[in-house]
Assembly symmetry: C2
Homo-oligomer: 234 residues x 2
């Protein structure tokens, strides 16, 4: 018990501590899927932390599908065995903050897929939203203005057109981190944005013409510079 070392502001540390304690509890008590965890109050008492800290930790494990809270009843181990539970909790505890390179790598992967799927599945409504985003982007760039936001919205429109809400969510989650890093590293220069108009137009046309191969190819072209950059930094 090294809790006294942890300062108040280091919330993450407390949460990880509680999560590891819950893992140990599940192991020691051989809790199986469907079994009930001790109440939040008794846990906060046992671990010598506040109940709200316990709640946050439980909510995080609930987000990853490992626990399930039922009001006025209790918190239950999800339909997942003790082995997988251990493996996943260890992974969750080990999760580092992704670096920029990893983010870009993931983004390109997702974009290649969403563009291909969008070419196969886009509706007319999807197409309309993509066109609007594209026009807004072009206008900004041609007027010499910053167009990072419009660029982003175009790509999110593609993700939406992919018809895969799971992919759409993942794109949404990594997008903000991408933006802040773009601005920090000054990735998007003026020249890039100008050539970007044609590249966006090419992607749009491929999706409009329902040509998945070309859509993927054009996205690859669009990210080529970025790819090189990504593998050069740090």
């Amino acid at each position: 018990m090294k809790l006294e070392v942890i300062s108040k502001s280091e919330n993450k540390e407390v949460q990880n501590f509680i999560i590891s304690q819950i893992r140990d509890l599940i192991n020691y008590k051989n809790l199986e899927p469907g079994d009930k965890l001790p109440s939040e109050r008794s846990l906060s008492d046992k671990f010598s932390v506040s109940r709200s800290n316990v709640r946050e930790a439980i909510q995080k494990l609930e987000f990853y599908g490992l626990l399930k809270s039922i009001p006025q009843s209790g918190t239950f181990v999800a339909n997942i065995g003790v082995i997988a539970m251990n493996g996943m909790i260890d992974d969750i505890l080990r999760l580092e903050k992704p670096d920029f390179k990893a983010l870009v790598e993931t983004r390109i992967l997702l974009e290649l897929k969403t563009a291909r799927l969008a070419a196969l599945r886009r509706t007319d409504e999807d197409l309309k939203q993509m066109r609007e985003a594209l026009e807004a982007y072009s206008e900004k760039v041609l007027n010499g203005k910053d167009a990072v936001q419009e660029d982003l919205l175009f790509h999110l429109a593609i993700a939406k057109a992919s018809g895969n809400s799971s992919l759409n969510t993942l794109m949404l989650m990594i997008t903000p981190e991408i933006i802040t890093n773009f601005e920090k590293h000054h990735v998007c220069d003026k020249g890039m944005a100008r050539s970007g108009i044609q590249e966006h137009q090419d992607i749009f046309n491929a999706i409009k013409n329902q040509n998945p191969v070309e859509a993927k190819e054009k996205v690859k072209v669009h990210f080529k510079m970025l790819y090189q950059y990504c593998y050069n930094i740090e």
Copy 2:
């Protein structure tokens, strides 16, 4: 204001209501990156909801990188313009719960990539963990036992070996949903698990031999049945 329609348990509705209100506020007041939002108390007062509801909504927007809370100071608009803010908030509000088909589609995409990267980057320690997971899986299957968990841990070990923490996180997030759906739809039958041993071994060997092309190919084989299933249901 249609709040009286919303029952207490429909927390999601309340949260989405608050999020849309915050979006309107940002638009109406022309809040730009770095600007401060009204305090949680005044927001809860203005929207006629509890402060904890406001906090949850803010935390969700913080998760997507749109807001940033600073203790004893305030909540601030992230380094993202009003246009992108609107687009992303609309996307967040529209996000449906992903269907199983979308999940499997995403999983295969991620697995193909992580296997390829793992072949390129795996360390000896990664290899060791993968081998342990593989052996645990084989033993269970050969003894005629259920091995869903061990299967999962093998794939998570690959994700870890990819050296991309971003991809690793995404895999972790979609995994629990996959498992529950697998069990619900009875995807993994006994016969499948038996042939799975060789398939896992092939993937492992490709990664061990640092052959990214073969690794990707073997994963594709492994998911072939699943792919067909995925495109047949519902």
